[in-house]
Amino acid sequence: MKLSEVFTQGLWKENPTLRMMLGMCPVLGVSTSGSDAFGMGMATLAVLVSSNVVVSLVKDYIPAQVRIPAYILVIATLVTAVDMAMAAWFFELHKTLGLFIPLIVVNCIILGRAEGFAAKNTVFASIIDGLGMGIGFTLAITTLGCCRELLGNGSIFGVSLVGADFKPMLLMVLPPGAFLMLGFLAAAMRRVDMTLEARTRAAAAVRRKRALDLATGGGTVPLPPGFE
């Protein structure tokens, strides 16, 4: 697989959140507002890239039987490191997000990529995969957060966008809203894919017809023998 493909498959085709439905715990829990979702996305991205690097580095030294506990230990260490670093250097962000940082350990995207990609590929390819998957996760959770915040609170990234007589759809910032909006987004993504597919199919059909027209001089295509 080409490196550019490794990067882009996480963004759309194999988007961890909206396609593979992985790591639902932070996705549903922290997507009540755009800024919280974005912070969670960035923290996950950092852990994902570094865990991919470490796992691809140590993969040859870890016996297959104990690889899962070893990877989990690596991931838990990295998450704790991110948690402490965030508390030290981004104190304000840590105040709102701190509660959810330890949750990254149980985000199965991280273990999924460690086991499914980093354990079989080079360090560089693993970094690219971590970036692609992490950015795909960040985009998905931030979009989800913004949609929920807009409908449930009338704002995006804390900036109020609606008038005073807007009645917020409270359900959207409550837990069920997370499931509903996730479903809508996954459906919308599928819809875009179907439209694109139909368009390529139509374009291919037109091209085929034009080629046939050229070959037969614009007349009707003679059917092969036996089909008259």
Binding site: T32, I62, T96, P168
Partner: protein, 227 residues
């Protein structure tokens, strides 16, 4: 088949490496985290107290409370002063005590304990409330941290024990957050407990005039010499 020793060795190496890394990182970050927390608290102290002309952090007092103290006032150990009790930050204005700030903890939060910093005037009225730590749901209960998302935080200011310190949903006067009544209720409860603690143990424990009033020039001179 890899021998069991090899498996154990691999796990031990990973575990030891993790422990060493985290211990090192903790050494680097712990002082920074502590400094940020103190700075955050001092910022909150400034917000909850009425205008003052002293230095609340330098003038802070530890009020010892026998038997662990009343309901929910936070008893902590002030390492610098080497005393255990409720840490009170006083505000003096033109030589008079105008307010004190101290931490109160509510155990009634939705996601865990909520620590608030309560500012109280000598008459026992709330001069300000700030949320120091909480574990409420982001986007819902977590809205208690700012006046913009929870009007009740501003509504509490100016009240004393003789006025309503109860949320509207329970028949009181304080605004709640739609979908999250528990968090505002916990803050109101902490304010009430804090005011009760003030009347019971804290009131009158602080000197009525600034402790450094006799030597303000000396302090200024020392500071000037250092900077």
């Amino acid at each position: 088949m890899v021998s069991i020793n090899r498996l154990v060795l691999a796990l031990v190496v990973v575990a030891v490496a993790s422990a060493v890394l985290l211990a090192e990182l903790n050494g680097i970050t712990a002082p920074k985290i502590k400094a940020s927390q103190t700075a955050y608290k001092l910022k909150a102290v400034k917000k909850v107290l009425p205008p003052y002309d002293n230095q609340p952090a330098a003038d802070r007092r530890v009020i010892p409370v026998p038997g662990g103290g009343p309901a929910e006032a936070k008893v902590e150990i002030d390492e610098e002063l080497g005393k255990e009790g409720v840490v009170v930050y006083p505000a003096y204005h033109e030589g008079k005590l105008v307010g004190e700030a101290y931490s109160v903890i509510s155990h009634q939060g939705f996601g865990g304990d909520i620590e608030i910093l309560l500012g109280v005037s000598p008459e026992g009225r709330v001069t300000g409330v700030e949320i120091i730590t909480h574990a409420e749901t982001p986007g819902l209960g977590a809205k208690i941290v700012s006046e913009a998302s929870w009007k009740g935080k501003a509504e509490l200011v100016g009240r004393s024990l003789s006025e309503s310190l109860v949320v509207k949903k329970d028949g009181g006067e304080i605004d709640t957050i739609a979908g999250a009544t528990i968090s505002p209720r916990a803050v109101c409860g902490a304010v009430k407990a804090g005011l009760e603690a003030y009347n019971q143990v804290l009131k009158g424990k602080l000197p009525a005039t600034p402790p450094a009033a006799a030597t303000p020039t000396t302090t200024a001179a020392v500071q000037g010499a250092h900077s």
